[in-house]
Subunit: 134 residues, 4 copies
């Protein structure tokens, strides 16, 4: 079952660029996280509220391929698509594309899980439901 693609527009902020004049490597991870959290809201999951309720969404693994850097003045689109990895693990396939010419900037795969405050796996029903046949 193919999941719907979520896309978020982000404009480079100058403080995100480092001495090479390009967005610092770690900041793309910020872009990816922000897009995931905005995506999760669209399916009814609020990272901050879950956190207050004692349900922690955590990243277990991240893989990022850096194709081309973004610079000051650039805008990009950060996409996010959900995939099931295992009963308790879910993945986000994410791309960052430069808006002006659709040039690929980053390809990423982020694997997460959900735990409670005791560190036990705890998958919110609404997240589980994303993977049910409709």
């Amino acid at each position: 079952m193919q999941k719907k693609l979520f896309t978020l527009g982000i404009k480079v902020r100058d403080y995100e660029c480092d001495m090479q004049g390009v967005v610092n490597n770690a900041n793309y991870q910020h872009y990816l996280e922000h897009a995931r959290h905005e995506f999760l809201k669209t399916i009814g999951l609020d990272f901050a509220r879950l956190n207050e309720e004692g349900i922690l969404l955590v990243v277990k693994r991240i893989e990022m391929d850096y194709h081309f850097p973004l610079r000051s003045g650039d805008a990009c689109e950060v996409s996010c698509q959900l995939e099931r990895i295992s009963p308790l693990r879910f993945g986000f396939v994410q791309q960052i594309i430069r808006t002006s010419d659709q040039k690929p900037i980053i390809s990423a795969r982020v694997i997460g899980t959900s735990i409670n405050r005791q560190g036990r796996p705890f998958l919110p029903e609404v997240l589980d439901k994303q993977f049910q046949p409709e």
Copy 2:
């Protein structure tokens, strides 16, 4: 002569929040900088291009009053108004307001100057022109 007010909308990103659950103090400075750079573009000054040409816009002083914190999910408006401090120094009067209820979040005053690579004062003409009577 009253300068036009520039305003930029910014949405809080979760990674900008610290363990108190609010936007970390230093990140408001990022918001203010981003709004200043976007404002400067509207008057024809590009921070990154100036930098490549050897003209460095630098902050000499910043004053920030913290009225109320922003949280995950909040959006804000960051304003920016130019004022002349001296022939070679210019100020930015900036406010951050929570979008939902116009609650004041930050009041700031940022004093900057412009130097060349040798550290000598060098005010771009276009910046100087902002302060001429029209």
Copy 3:
């Protein structure tokens, strides 16, 4: 009564530098915060533990003068001295000095207060005691 001076050594990390090749303005605020929190530990106050106990140390105002920028490879010393502003407000007078030649980098004054989760002023006794004549 003169308070003891606390000093913390910090080495510039390359990701803290922006496209001008110098430490980004907002990152000095990170240095100042880190030095304050390390200083507070020396008088028995742990920012994170206080936070868990529902006591929030918050910044109300910050003033920073930027004298000279730090670059990749630089090390600095961040100092911190406590001063009483009012019964419920305390100040930190802070300096950042480049280690190699003691060149002044930043002079700052940070005014804070302490509140509980209801937003009511709540000054921890150990902080109050700092201002008693010994």
Copy 4:
């Protein structure tokens, strides 16, 4: 040929922690980068100086496994070991270990290359030499 292991101690700074009370995922990438740059200095390569000379060290791929989070007050050791991937690509195998109990925090593999300002591959001799039989 086994390369020497480089290790750098880093203490968690409170602003690096997010609303979950743990170091934000992207900040581990900052730790890894800082350790790589410090390691490179020990073999005679200065990231900032190379950058000024027009030689850009760039990350092409990063893989990070998140084993356990760091919290306020934690210290860690970030290690770095060089491996050759191909004539023009080199890898860094990196670990982050909690200092107090040697608990594994992050395992990472970072693949980089070196290019000149025209985007052409350009491997500094000193980096190339790291892979020669001694």
